[in-house]
Symmetry: C2
Subunit: 308 residues, 2 copies
């Protein structure tokens, strides 16, 4: 097993200026593993759903090479449900409904087949649950990455700090980095956060790209400027999944390779927003992905010449 | 004469979370020509000041190789004055005072020595004044670039469109591009703006970098993530000045060279914000500038490898 992910497998209902969905499949764990499946062959997911969750979706995940034996199916319970509405600029959203359901008492189980995995991705969940998974891995993975949200900073900061102290990579957005560190400059924020544990900090800036702080090094990856952003839901998870999938597949977490992994994640995220939910990721081909990665290379490519 | 710039030479008073200045020297024309002086040797400025403007500043400009014979000094009149206060995030500001003074009836005069210049930079001014300068150049420059602001979109849109139709390069920020085009996506906005005249559109995104739309090509230049932004005043003008100075010095406005020019402008702008007003630009050395350009090269540099 190369990569193990823990994260929600859920239902979303989304309203955007482009339309409105019924309950569709979403969840951090879903987006992460779909994204990482473009790179890594042996991966598993730890999650929980209710018996209202479609078996066909679980079959689709299996068909992508995702080992789903870590997904508990709770009889008589309902799957986690989130509903939100995006504003006209697609950069901000209101949460309309959050029904924790099966997530409320989620007790993550690490299947025997997942033990010994080299890479662990902790999708956005309560920091207690994230820490439980770390503790239940008998051998510490080579690299542990963690995504989190302002929600946990608001209600469970001390728990969050305890979990952060155990991970190698923290992936958060710019506003969350500012909230967590208490400073505005992202360069300074990354320093403050690194002092809390994770030696590698990735700050997602949405349409403005992403910053990687790797020990004393800094890398900036642009986001591809798009004509239309249809649904940003899951873009951050897709980015994280692409990143960890690339790292796990190449088994290399040097600074140089992390840069490539961030470009891979950015390219996948740029597809994710093109359609509602997981739709675009499900129909995406490796050929399309490789072509988009080339667009990222072109986008920021220049050869400098000094003028005397 | 390689490059002619028209733009304000003015007084600013700035309040930021880091402090407060008395009247200090500012103005788009000042920042543009100081920035371009790092690249281009033969340049001139067209502007107007009152007799309250310090002769020593004009001498400093001359010492940087800037031909100031196009600066009219109006006896008994006062120099343009702007005062503003930056908010805590340094991304937004309130204008406290605008005294047009000599700018109110500015009648730009193109000195004989400036005729035949290859490159023309129209700093932010009323679009009528910008157009007068184009009309008063006996030979059309090879490349005309124009900066403008939302202010002119609000009060003089038709005049602005007339001037835009005459220029090759439009340099504006993201919010202005959205206002001018009426669309949110910057990719679409650039298309709409290109249909108004300028075939090259540069969209400044402040701390998020800049986008270049050059015919069908797109380039993204990051901004250098900084620990502290002290005073953003003039950063956009410095960017434009560095850009046009680099283009004029190399006499090359191909897409490849425009990318370099944008990096040069971005590097200069990253210095501009380090101190109040023009202070950092005045003390900046070519060696420091070259070292920062190298940081830009490193910041976004990666070599992609496909994963099978």
């Amino acid at each position: 097993m190369r990569l193990v992910t823990v994260g929600s497998v859920a239902f979303d209902a989304i309203e955007s200026p482009f339309g409105k969905t019924d309950k569709i499949v979403g969840g951090a764990g879903t987006f992460i593993t779909l994204a990482s499946s473009f790179f890594v062959k042996e991966q598993g997911i730890i999650s929980v759903v209710g018996d209202d969750f479609p078996a066909s979706t679980l079959e689709n995940m299996k068909a992508k090479g995702i080992d789903i034996q870590g997904i508990q199916i709770k009889a008589g319970e309902k799957t986690f449900f989130w509903s939100g509405r995006y504003h006209n600029d697609m950069n901000s959203r209101d949460t309309l409904v959050t029904e924790l359901n099966v997530l409320e008492h989620f007790n993550p189980i690490v299947p025997q087949a997942f033990q010994g995995a080299d890479y662990l991705m902790l999708g956005n969940l309560s920091p207690q649950v994230q820490r439980m998974v770390i503790e239940r891995m008998k051998k510490r993975p080579k690299l542990i990455a963690m995504d989190t949200m302002n929600f946990w900073m608001d209600i469970a900061l001390e728990e969050l700090k305890k979990t952060m102290a155990l991970v190698d990579v923290l992936i958060i957005n710019d506003e969350e980095a500012r909230q967590l560190s208490g400073v505005y400059s992202l360069v300074k924020a990354a320093k403050v956060i690194r002092a809390m544990g994770p030696q590698i900090v990735i700050i997602k800036k949405g349409e403005h790209g992403a910053l990687l702080f790797h020990e004393e090094n800094m890398f900036f990856a642009p986001a591809l400027p798009l004509e239309d952003v249809f649904d940003p839901t899951g873009a951050g998870d897709t980015f994280a999944g692409g990143f960890m999938g690339y790292i796990a597949a190449t088994d290399d977490f040097s600074f140089e390779n992390m840069k490539r992994a961030i470009i891979a994640g950015s390219a996948l995220a740029s597809f994710c927003v093109e359609k509602f939910g997981t739709q675009r990721l499900l129909e995406l081909t490796k050929k399309e992905l490789n072509a988009r990665v080339k667009q990222f290379v072109t986008l920021g490519n220049f050869e400098m010449k000094e003028v005397q």
